[in-house]
């Protein structure tokens, strides 16, 4: 069992170690070497990164933002026949909601009751009772929060922050943690701006393919693109060679490489990274690993010049997996000007088609939108329209026939989840869920470095002092306790890596503290054994009795400390939770190491005829 625990801990810790090694290696290599190393080991580095013990924002620097969805604004937006009475209620609710943390909906309901106004005047059907309306509004606000989270997630994904953490807190708050991000104004606009939902026509597959072909030709040097202008503005960064460098980096095959693959990459650098859809849809497929490089390439001014007027590339919001476990993004060629923007959508609902039993999304537009939509769909039957939120395409359905009356049905979703996501996206345009930033913290990486260093130093120092003291005070029994302590640290880190827990500064404090508690268990046992020895028992009997009698005290004291940990975890936020988590893991680990591992070592020593010395 001990062996198993050790092995499991080591397995969990291996990625952390690996990640450390990779980073050390990357620091030691310079410039192009490090890029080629990165490319060669990309997958390994990524997987190590995912499984390692993560460092909290306080240790690595970055931004933490807490957003609150303005539920009251939403309630105001969806009400009909608004009058002065309604305005007064909204104002009162707003005042009260800022003064305490009660959920908004019950306050809202109470205000209506106080004034003796039926809610059906403003919401739902005239015959609906207040309770029904309230529960409906409750659902509506919950959805708004989900929508806000999805919008934020979509944007953070586009922003390409490594390892962002986005989670819901309570009923209407969103915590966003962005490690390594420093530019606070950029992040603010990223998180707070209104979501932009657009319907854009896809360009014809033939045109899309032609554009991709021209980029490919440009990169491989077959044509000099737009010679006149490039001659005039022959800046360094605008040569095909540099563009090629941007795309391929150090993956560029050497001329000596004669494999088919290398040959293809040399001749068709763009198509080696962007695979056109064989079904002639005009889409390109890009592996998730290559996406960043393709984005950089497409952003280059010289490449932008290759695009015809009213032509733009947009990426799919999510990846699609292939059977062999790879993931790729879709690259869509769309018109630059949107046909319609999201304001016209009044309702969207994900359901299941009764006939085919497949997930679908029903979408309603307002009268103005419906008129436009009829014209657009009528003129573009059998063409595709991309639905994009903040420039990321969530779906690109084909127009089957002219849609009159504004009611559309979108089919072709793989799963109910996909349909639900599309519902959220469509509604994001219709009912923006306004969010405000109520907490924002940013930690510079240098403070992070300092705190890591002093935190680690003090932990190591405290650890060494404790080990030294135990060995001096309890002789070989103390040394055995020290061995158990080492295992304890190993287990704590192993479990943390296993849960992919985040290590924060209070977390380190928690580890330090559990070391103290772990020592306590052995002090209890050793003191007890000493007592029993002083009472005249033989060594073996004294050890047996010592363990048996100390056991209840250890269990009781650890359980109470563990329970405080649970309470802390339950009520605490952020840093306190981190502390509580390591405390709980530490106590569980120390019960195991201090009681079982030391006992096993004593038993092995005794069976070999070595008598442990309790000092």
């Amino acid at each position: 069992m001990i062996l198993a625990a050790v092995v499991v801990s080591l397995i969990f810790l291996y990625p952390t170690f690996q990640d450390y090694q990779y980073r050390k290696k990357l620091v030691s290599l310079s410039g192009p070497d490090s890029i080629s190393y990165l490319d060669q080991h990309q997958d390994d580095i990524l997987s190590a990164k995912l499984k390692r013990i993560k460092l909290g924002l306080d240790l690595q620097g970055g931004m933490r933002v807490v957003l609150e969805v303005d539920v009251i604004k939403l309630l105001e937006d969806i009400a009909k026949n608004k009058d002065d009475n309604f305005g007064a209620i909204i104002k009162e609710v707003r005042d009260q909601a800022t003064n305490n943390d009660e959920s908004v909906i019950p306050i809202f309901g109470r205000k209506f009751q106080e004034r003796g106004i039926r809610m059906s005047r403003y919401y739902g059907n005239i015959r609906d009772v207040d309770a029904a309306i309230l529960s409906q509004l409750d659902g509506e606000t919950a959805k708004a929060v989900d929508r806000a989270i999805e919008i934020v997630r979509n944007r953070v994904d586009q922003y390409r922050v490594s390892e962002p953490n986005i989670q819901k807190q309570g009923t209407r708050r969103i915590i966003v943690e962005l490690p390594g991000v420093k530019d606070e104004s950029e992040v603010r606009s990223l998180l707070q701006g209104t979501a932009k939902l657009e319907f854009r026509l896809l360009r014809d597959a033939a045109i899309s393919y032609k554009v991709m072909q021209s980029i490919d030709d440009y990169l491989s040097g077959k044509v000099a693109a737009d010679t006149s202008s490039s001659a005039k503005t022959a800046k360094k960064e605008e040569k095909p060679k540099d563009a090629l460098e941007e795309l391929l980096g150090n993956k560029k095959p050497s001329n000596a490489d004669t494999t088919n693959e290398a040959k293809f990459t040399r001749e068709h650098p763009f198509f080696a990274n962007v695979t056109p859809d064989q079904r002639n849809t005009g889409e390109g497929f890009v592996l998730d690993n290559n996406r960043d490089r393709v984005i950089r390439l497409l952003e280059r001014p010289d490449v932008q010049r290759l695009l015809p007027a009213d032509f733009e590339f947009q990426w799919s919001a999510k990846t699609t997996p292939t059977p062999d476990g790879k993931k790729f993004y879709h690259l869509y060629a769309v018109k630059r000007t949107p046909e319609l923007t999201g304001g016209v959508v009044v309702e969207a609902r994900a359901t299941v088609d009764q006939g085919t039993n497949r997930p679908i999304v029903n979408m309603e537009m307002n009268s103005e939108g419906a008129r436009e939509w009829a014209r657009i769909t009528g003129a573009n039957v059998n063409k595709r329209i991309a639905i994009s939120l903040d420039n990321a395409v969530f779906s690109a359905p084909t127009v089957i026939n002219k849609i009159v009356g504004g009611h559309s049905q979108i089919t072709g979703m793989e799963s109910p989840n996909e349909a639900r996501l599309l519902e959220i996206v469509l509604k994001a345009g219709a009912l923006p869920a306004p969010v405000s930033i109520i907490e924002q913290r940013s930690v510079g990486p240098s403070l992070g470095e300092d705190s890591i260093r002093s935190g680690l130093n003090s932990t190591v120092l405290a650890f060494l002092l404790t080990i030294l003291f135990m060995a001096v005070y309890y002789h070989s029994a103390g040394a055995i306790a020290d061995v158990a302590l080492l295992f304890n640290v190993l287990f704590i880190l192993g479990v943390m890596a296993g849960f992919s827990a985040t290590l924060t500064l209070p977390g380190i404090a928690g580890v330090v503290l559990t070391l103290g508690i772990a020592v306590d268990a052995n002090v209890l046992i050793n003191e007890r054994v000493r007592e029993e020895l002083a009472g005249g028992k033989t060594l073996r009997a004294a050890i047996d009795a010592g363990y048996a009698r100390a056991f209840t005290a250890i269990v009781d004291s650890n359980v109470t400390t563990f329970l405080t940990g649970v309470v802390l975890y339950q009520f605490g936020t952020g840093p306190i939770q981190g502390f509580a988590l390591t405390l709980m893991i530490g106590i569980a680990a120390s019960m195991f190491t201090a009681i079982i591992i030391t006992r096993v070592i004593f038993n092995i020593m005794m069976s070999k005829g070595l008598n442990p010395n309790f000092g």
Binding site: D58, I438, V443, L447, A462, L465, V472, H475, A553, T564
Partner: protein
């Protein structure tokens, strides 16, 4: 090696004096709490806080003047670990990080020869602060109840009460000392932050740890020595566990002292609160918890 020979101290006899001693310290602490109060950190108060590292030793007067000109005369300026690192805090919040940016601009223009680096900037809305304060109180109260429940089930209700009263004693005493010493000792930042709340909860955990070990021994001894009075049993148990109590608290104390002096500014307040807490916790598990159990037991028994 052995620090403690077999001791035979009559702990319980001195309990009256100890009650007085504890009450006196707590009273001083409470007076300080009422007059001086505690310094809530930004977590609980809301506002904007900046930690900046300057290229040269920063002059407080100049900084204050610069901030005053920009309309932040009410801000607090204090050192953060060393002379070059300064913490600036104001209760003003503004939209987004406007306040922080204004402060940075003001310092940049008024102190052109100084270059600085922003190590940390926080903005906490007033609502969050209030909620955190409430959650912290919930956490402390809830853990006290959990402990009362557990000890009452494992031992007797009176023991649970003794343990919890001892914990109240520890928390009050530590809080009083924090209030008393805040701002008195240089480089020691004793604001009530989330970390300090974590420290309080740890104090509760460790102190109850100590108390339970003593109670465990009392329970064991009362089964063995049925003829002895409760007071004698308690004294015997306390003496028997004394060595363990001191050694354990001592090792934890070593760890905390290291954290206090070498752990850096961020964990210093935390380590300090814990150090005080460990000392009072050890003392309270000897004197307060057992003594309360003894006194209440005696009082309950008398009328019979």
């Amino acid at each position: 090696m052995r620090l403690f020979k077999k001791t035979n101290i009559n702990f319980m006899a001195a309990r009256g004096k100890m009650y007085i001693l504890s009450s006196a310290i707590i009273a001083v602490g409470l007076i300080s709490l009422f007059i001086k109060g505690v310094n809530y950190g930004i977590d609980f108060r809301g506002g904007t806080e900046l930690v900046m590292s300057f290229s040269e030793r920063a002059d407080y007067g100049q900084l204050r003047a610069a901030l005053g000109k920009a309309g932040f005369g009410d801000s607090e300026i204090k050192s953060f670990g060393n002379d070059q690192t300064i913490l600036i805090r104001t209760t003003q919040q503004g939209e987004g990080m406007i306040v922080a940016n204004k402060i940075k601009d003001a310092i940049q223009t008024s102190l052109p020869n100084q270059s600085f680096q922003v190590l940390r900037e926080d903005k906490i809305g007033p609502k969050i602060g209030k909620e955190l304060r409430r959650d912290a109180v919930y956490a402390v109260v809830a853990s006290l109840f959990v402990i009362l429940g557990y000890v009452a089930i494992r031992y007797k209700f009176l023991y649970g009460m003794g343990a919890v009263l001892a914990l109240y004693h520890d928390v009050l005493l530590t809080l009083g000392i924090i209030s008393l010493l805040d701002g008195v000792v240089p480089y020691l930042n004793l604001e009530i932050t989330q970390e300090i709340i974590a420290a309080f909860l740890t104090i509760i955990g460790l102190s109850v740890n100590d108390t339970v070990v003593v109670f465990d021994r009392i329970r064991e001894n009362s089964k063995i020595y049925r003829s002895l009075s409760l007071m004698d049993i308690m004294n015997k148990s306390l003496n028997e566990t004394l060595s363990r109590t001191i050694i354990t608290s001592g090792t934890i104390l070593i760890v905390l002292l290291v954290l206090l002096f070498a752990g850096g500014e961020v964990t210093r307040g935390f380590a300090f609160a814990l150090t005080i807490g460990i000392i009072t916790g050890t003392y309270s598990s000897i004197y307060i918890a057992s003594a309360i159990v003894l006194d209440t037991t005696l009082r309950v028994k008398k009328p019979e």
